[in-house]
């Protein structure tokens, strides 16, 4: 059996030492043997230098011996380095393999495992605890063999020099070997406790960070601090004991090994004085004996790190020693292609603690039939859906798809045929596209060699985007993207043409929603800097963030009499924003409409304190620059805490003309001024088509603009292109740049793209507005009925009418089952739920 066939959590620490490194370990062994001999040679040379060369006063011999000495020292050092390299390569490779195997194993573990496992623990295990085991794998062969061999060779050499002295000085080591394991046992116990306490500690931190809303909401700082401090105190005590024991072992070892020269001095000195030992031999003996110390120390350290590694490794592996509930892929057949007939017979589900959540569930769906699960929360609707989708393993009865038991199918069978949209879907970091194709790619990779449908085409994706109603959002992401001057030159030219058509058709009707770029008007939705420049920088010195450091620009501001009003404005903004936001945490939602960024708040807080004490023009240059930055960032339409002073508006407009004239004279290549006939690289696609900016970010304002833009894009046949760009939108970590509704739509689109035989939707539309919910409901009825079996957990009853069957759930049982009319006529639980009467 190959090592990789044993479940990772059951493999021994030593299995990693050789598993992937057999030939490397072989090379290592060879290098070690050479090294050991290269280490003994200098000692012999040392003896010969004293005994022969010096005694005989032979300079040539001295040179020869010293030469050999030098070479062997060089070789020994070089080889030592080579051993370290090999050790590192082996150790890191073993660590990587260990991490991979454990992670791959982890992802297949049942959901119940994750319910009782804190993320912190998993992180700590993979990131920290395994490192010791990996290091050990690198050392496992090299260190003990090098040290033992060196030790033996030196011992033999000593014996050869003088058997009696050797016996005396070596007699120490057996004593050490007796004492150290005793101490180590205690250290191991402390280490086990340390691993557990560290785990507990990371749990507490993770819990506090993920529950920070509750903690701050309840002001429960004291409770949490007490909990934390207790655990830290416990950890501290354990670590003290552990470290004391470890150092105790080192100290004890040092003490005993230092005793052995003492014995040699006494005995060797006595022998030499009485002429029974040559001085050279004594010198050689003493050096050789001293050299014993290093390999011995290494051996003891190795022993300690072995003990540490084995404790950590076992503790970690024990924790993850759970079996996946399902086989990943079938071994001897192609994955099933199912038709979606579902039969649930007397199915039950109980938690590990034995609490029954579902009992006696029986229902049956023909392929393509639609089932709605309704009932109060906690009645088991979601659990039932999860059991059918193989995410929970039912504990009794049967769930059969096309007559095959779900519990016995492999994961690949299920993902090939079942699509799942969960209540709060998880969106992965990366692009929209990645998230949309996630299910399809996973399915195709799992199927491997077996024939599968290819990934959906752009047309198919666009169709699903429209069906799920996220098309408009993706279009907006595309419209808000910046184009790259290198790649998209052609598109830019097209967009400039589109701009002209747009102006002609929609310039009038949209005048109150869009602020068009116009050299004669002050732009309330652009910053003061943008208003002044009214163009795009080509020379980096003229880019907006760099303007306040560009001397040319600063001089210009003085000339245009802008410095003073902008300093005033900056001071006013700083005071206002510090007053409003000064004590708030750096959450994006508070800073969205602020000219001060969260990370700058502290700087401006200190600046505001200085403001009262000095007139603005006497402030140090650094402070003035900071105020100027705020003033230049000020966008009257967005930063509503300060009104735009009329005087400033006039000076900015005068300044714009002055600036253009000055730059065209002094730096004709530094800027591209806005003009209707050229693409603006620093602005989004949308702003380029508009040749202006939207005046409001509200839904209805966007809607007005969108309608016109879509019309133009369709006319110009650009819609697909923009969607393609929008699909590259980065959704942020966990999709936090998407709204709740958008996340749900992406998840639904992800499942639709898979085009599964069975679609399970667990309150999949709860975050959507009425229109989107209705759209998806219509789609299910029109496109999926008769083709795809649907199981929908629903929280709203106004959409259940057209489901083939409705199962009403109460306390883990189906209390009513049947089509809408039948259940309404029965005037039972369902009737009560719909009419809200008892």
């Amino acid at each position: 059996m190959r090592a990789s066939d044993i479940p990772v959590a059951k493999r021994s620490l030593f299995s990693w030492v050789f598993a992937y490194n057999l030939h490397l370990q072989g090379i290592l062994l060879a290098v070690i043997i050479i090294t050991v001999f290269a280490r003994v040679l200098p000692l012999e040379m040392q003896k010969r230098v004293v005994n022969e060369a010096i005694k005989l006063r032979d300079v040539d011999l001295l040179m020869l011996y010293c030469g050999i000495y030098l070479v062997s020292v060089l070789v020994a050092s070089g080889l030592k380095y080579l051993i370290n390299i090999l050790q590192t390569v082996i150790g890191q490779r073993a660590l990587a393999e260990m991490r991979n195997a454990l992670y791959h194993h982890l992802l297949t573990l049942p959901l119940s495992f994750f319910r009782k496992t804190q993320p912190g623990l998993v992180v700590a295990s993979l990131v920290n605890e395994l490192v010791a085991a990996g290091d050990f794998a690198g050392e496992a062969l090299a260190v003990p063999i090098t040290s033992l061999l060196t030790l033996l060779v030196f011992a033999a050499y000593l014996t050869w020099l003088n058997p009696i002295l050797a016996a005396v000085s070596l007699s120490i080591y057996p004593v050490v070997l007796l004492i150290i394991p005793l101490l180590q046992k205690k250290a191991n116990q402390a280490n086990k406790k340390r691993v557990d306490a560290t785990r507990q500690y990371s749990d507490i931190i993770v819990e506090a960070v993920s529950g920070i809303h509750e903690i701050q909401g309840n002001g429960s700082y004291r409770i949490e601090n007490q909990r934390h401090d207790q655990v830290v105190e416990n950890l501290r005590k354990i670590r003290v004991v552990w470290n004391l024991l470890r150092f105790g072992i080192k100290t004890g070892n040092n003490f005993f090994t230092n005793l052995s020269p003492f014995l040699v001095f006494i005995l060797g000195g006595y022998l030499t004085i009485h002429g029974r030992l040559e001085l050279g031999a004594l010198v050689a003996f003493l050096s050789a004996q001293e050299k014993l110390y290093d390999p011995w120390k290494e051996l003891i350290e190795f022993y300690q790190s072995y003990q540490d590694a084995i404790v950590r490794y076992r503790r970690t592996m024990e924790y993850f020693d759970a079996a996946p509930e399902y086989q990943l892929a079938p071994l001897d057949r192609a994955p099933y292609h199912l038709h979606g007939g579902l039969e649930v017979q007397n199915m039950s589900f109980a938690t590990e603690g034995g609490i029954p959540l579902l009992q006696g569930i029986t229902l049956s769906l023909k392929p393509g039939e639609h089932l709605a699960l309704v009932g109060f929360s906690g009645s088991g609707k979601s659990t039932l859906a999860l059991c059918v989708g193989q995410l929970y393993r039912y504990t009794g009865g049967h769930v059969l798809i096309d007559g095959r038991e779900v519990a016995e199918m492999t994961k690949t069978d299920i993902i090939n045929n079942v699509g799942f949209v969960s209540q709060s879907p998880f969106i992965f970091g990366g692009t929209i596209e990645r998230n949309l194709l996630y299910g399809c790619e996973a399915r195709n990779q799992a199927a491997g060699a077996h024939a599968t449908p290819p990934l959906p085409t752009l047309d198919q994706i666009i169709e699903v985007l429209q069906q799920t109603g996220i098309f408009v959002d993706v279009l907006r992401f595309g419209l808000n993207a910046l184009l790259s001057p290198q790649r998209d030159r052609e598109l830019m030219d097209v967009l400039v043409r589109v701009r002209a058509n747009f102006q002609r058709d929609f310039g009038g009707p949209l005048a109150d929603s869009v602020e068009f770029f116009n050299a004669q008007n002050f732009l309330h939705h652009s910053s003061i800097a943008e208003n002044l420049i009214f163009g795009t920088a080509i020379d980096p010195a003229f880019e907006t963030p760099n303007l306040p450091h560009t001397p040319y620009f600063l001089e210009f501001m003085e000339r245009a009499q802008l410095t003073r009003p902008l300093l005033n404005l900056g001071a006013q903004l700083a005071r206002q924003m510090v007053d409003i936001l000064g004590n708030l945490p750096p959450q994006d939602i508070f800073f969205r409409e602020s000219p001060i960024q969260p990370e700058e708040l502290d700087t401006y807080k200190q600046l505001v304190q200085r403001l009262g004490k000095q007139p603005l023009h006497e402030l140090p240059a650094g402070d003035r620059e900071k105020l100027l930055i705020l003033g230049l960032r000020f966008t009257p339409g967005r930063h509503k805490t300060v009104a735009l002073p009329g005087l400033l508006e006039k000076r900015v407009m005068a300044g714009r003309a002055l600036f253009k004239a000055a730059v065209e004279r002094d730096f004709p290549e530094a800027l591209a001024f806005y003009q209707a006939s050229a693409y603006i690289h620093s602005q989004t696609i949308l702003n380029n088509i508009l040749f202006g900016k939207s005046k409001s970010s509200s839904f209805q304002a966007e809607e007005r603009i969108n309608q016109s833009i879509v019309q133009v894009l369709i006319e110009e046949d650009l819609l697909e292109k923009i969607i393609e760009i929008g699909m590259k939108f980065d959704v942020g970590s966990k999709g936090d740049r998407l709204s709740g509704g958008q996340r749900q739509k992406v998840a639904i689109a992800r499942a639709f793209l898979k085009n599964p035989e069975i679609l399970i939707m667990d309150e999949a539309t709860s975050a959507l507005d009425n229109k989107s919910q209705a759209r998806i409901q219509r789609l299910l009825e029109a496109r999926f009925k008769g083709r795809t079996t649907v199981i929908a957990v629903l929280h709203r009853l106004d959409v259940v009418k057209n489901f083939d069957q409705i199962a009403v759930m109460k306390a883990g049982k189906i209390v009513e089952l049947g089509p809408y009319e039948e259940l309404m006529d029965r005037k039972g639980t369902f009737y009560e739920l719909v009419t809200g009467r008892k």
């Binding site: 006013q572 409003i580 936001l581 004590n583 939602i589 509503k640 209805q700 507005d769 009425n770």
Partner: protein, 175 residues
Amino acid sequence: MSLSPEENSAAAACEFQQNLEILRQVRFFAGLPPEALKLLAYLCARETFRPGEHLFTQGEDDGQAFYLVSGKARLLRETNGREHEMRVFEADTFLGGISLLGSLRRLFSLAALTDVVCLVLTREKFSRVLEQFPDMMPKVLKGLVESIGAWEERFMSDAFFGADSCQQKSGVSLI
């Protein structure tokens, strides 16, 4: 805050100050600490609706509160596919404070009758502010209780109140 006269005149006109003045007069926010009120005034957005556009829609949980700064809006309820106008709200009305506190599906739609300018505050923003000022929750609840009490008192004393079916359903303030 000390502003020079020149700066002060500019600040008086800015939107933030206007919002602050408005929120001060809304019963729902009465008694909030000035820091919280300032933050809310800074966070709420000014939006315009054209006649016919919906401020909110029946059946949806949009989680927004509105203050009508100018214009008029109709409250609509749809039953069995037919839309009835329940009443018309004029400027200087605050609507939907309860939506800031928790999930609630609208029982009505509100549609602009004329051009409407309003202040909009979302539940997300409001709850983030609550997190920062945990002391304000009791005051918000107090304001809410007073509003409900005042509402039913007015309702009970209204002239048209007399039909038996209405009496059977009275008692909002008893929840």
